[in-house]
């Protein structure tokens, strides 16, 4: 290699499961090519760099920071702001950073109730003192602190300015590779772009040819209720497949694996609220006219919010379950 300095990148995780980190590793041997092209300056899950190392960097010194996960704690928010300062470009990596993801479904509950469930009600919690984590705690050795737990889950761009979005749960390996390549070659699109195709998933679904011209569903069923024909359009089989309202780019991995699309790639660019568009698409294939008949079909869809907003509740127009006004005064929970 030449002595030319390689662009530095950082990878960080906020409220996420670790699957996005796994997706980076899934680059396999291509990861070696990436390491050839860029220098990884920070990646807590894999490399022993600390926060101090990031703080020591000049502002804007990082070519890019890939941040996965939604934002729930004050620590995540601090790290996001720090990386924003140090990076020329911030990429919201994966469904959680982009739209809130699965952790975003916590916005259906109050933070007090979540802490109560996890630390007091869960059957696996031992002891009966009902201790909740405190932000500050005095012990013999001094004061201990924990990050604050905010009232709602936020997407990355509700906390910091974001330059690019890489959707998916996790982002498909091919999209990650082309994003890194575009970054190194300086061929990134305009700010705010989603680094994935801007067409609906059906366009790349192997079952697309079997989608009827006039799609009508008489009854919905869930994947475990009966056998699924491996070749036929899933919607035509009465499964709630969000393909018509979801962005392509994953090569229709779920329908290919005999499971309906759950919408992790998010919507295409002209949609504001993914869940609303998805429910609109599903409602329009319903073969029912009468009010009772429609109500019966709607009742067949278990957990409507979890179905249509599975990855996007914090990014939606309502952001979270409506809280009685009295409970909104507290910005952060100080248990």
């Amino acid at each position: 290699m030449t002595t030319m300095t390689k662009p530095k990148i950082a990878l960080y995780w906020c409220a996420s499961c670790g699957g996005c980190e796994e997706a980076v590793v899934d680059l396999g041997e291509d990861l070696l090519g990436v390491v050839e092209m860029v220098e990884i300056a920070f990646w807590p899950v894999a490399l022993d760099f600390k926060r101090d190392d990031v703080e020591a960097l000049d502002d804007g010194e990082l070519a890019a920071a890939f941040i996965n996960g939604a934002v729930r704690t004050s620590e995540q928010e601090e790290m996001a702001r720090l990386l924003r300062r140090k990076a020329a470009a911030v990429v919201a990596f994966g469904s959680c950073a982009m739209h809130g993801g699965i952790p975003g479904l916590a916005n259906l509950y109050e933070s007090e109730d979540i802490l109560d469930t996890v630390y007091r009600q869960a059957p696996s919690v031992g002891g009966s003192e009902g201790t909740l984590p405190e932000q500050e705690c005095r012990v013999a050795q001094g004061e201990l602190t924990l990050p604050a737990f905010s009232a709602s889950v936020r997407t990355l761009d509700q906390v910091i300015d974001v330059d690019y979005y890489l959707p998916g749960c996790p982002p498909p390996v091919g999209l990650i590779a082309s994003a890194v390549t575009a970054l190194v070659e300086g061929k990134l699109p305009e700010k705010g772009a989603v680094l994935a195709p801007d067409v609906a998933l059906c366009s790349e679904c192997p079952r697309a040819a079997t989608k009827p011209d006039k799609l009508l569903v008489r009854a919905f069923r869930r994947p475990h209720e009966g056998l699924i024909d491996p070749g036929l359009c899933l919607l035509a089989q009465g499964l709630v497949c969000l393909g018509p309202a979801t962005r392509a780019g994953c090569a229709a991995a779920c329908p290919g694996g005999n499971m309906p699309c759950t919408g992790c790639m998010g919507p295409t660019s002209n949609v504001i609220d993914h869940g609303a568009k998805a429910l609109s698409a599903i409602a329009s294939v319903l073969d029912a006219d009468g009010a009772d008949e429609i109500a019966a079909r709607v009742a067949e869809i278990a957990d409507p919010v979890g179905t249509f907003y599975r990855y996007s509740l914090p990014a939606s127009l309502l952001h979270r379950r409506v809280r009685p006004a009295a409970r909104q005064d507290k910005e952060e929970v100080a248990p």
């Binding site: 702001r81 924003r84 300062r85 911030v90 259906l108 009232a151 709602s152 936020r154 761009d157 509700q158 906390v159 910091i160 300015d161 974001v162 700010k191 705010g192 949609v271 504001i272 609220d273 869940g275 609303a276 568009k277 429910l279 609109s280 599903i282 409602a283 329009s284 319903l286 029912a288 006219d289 009010a291 429609i294 109500a295 709607v298 869809i301 957990d303 409507p304 919010v305 249509f308 907003y309 939606s316 127009l317 309502l318 952001h319 979270r320 379950r321 409506v322 809280r323 009685p324 006004a325 909104q328």
Partner: protein
């Protein structure tokens, strides 16, 4: 607790062939109705994207009213059935998101039913006055935009 001086804001989506024409008739007949209703004309209730409803709530509406032709009377054959399906599914989502049922209402109002427009608008305004404002809690845009230009 509902504010005594609270005036609800209602966004109404009326189809041009039936309910919007009925609202015209309400005016021509000099039937006054609550000024809390802001009417948006659609060609058909079937044009109603559920995003419109959520956007109305997002931008401060306390209630959304949808008016279309009676079942079987749609100018485009079946647009009002499409609206009905979408609204029922949206209703299921709104219920789980803690939005009271009375905040979203769909009514079939034909072009001759000017009085029904008056009654529905007044009724809904009264109901929402009792419910109080819809307390949404959406995050503001990031406080520190890094580069030039507006972040979306």
């Amino acid at each position: 607790m509902p504010d005594h001086h609270f005036e609800p804001k209602i966004v109404a989506f009326f189809c041009t062939w039936c309910t919007y024409t009925a609202a015209d008739l309400t005016g021509i007949s000099r039937l006054a109705y609550a000024p809390n209703v802001r009417v948006i004309r659609l060609m058909c209730s079937g044009r109603l994207d559920p995003q419109f409803v959520l956007a109305a709530f997002h931008h401060g509406a306390d209630g959304v009213l949808i008016g279309g032709c009676h079942p079987g009377d749609c100018h485009y054959q079946e647009g009002n059935y499409k609206a009905r399906r979408r609204i029922e599914l949206l209703r299921a989502v709104l219920r789980d998101l803690g939005v009271e049922e009375q905040r979203l209402r769909i009514e079939w109002i034909s072009a001759s039913e000017g009085e029904k427009v008056q009654r529905v608008c007044n009724e809904m305004t009264e109901q929402l006055r009792g419910l109080g404002p819809l307390p949404l809690d959406c995050p503001a845009a990031p406080a520190e935009p890094a580069g030039a230009g507006e972040a979306r």
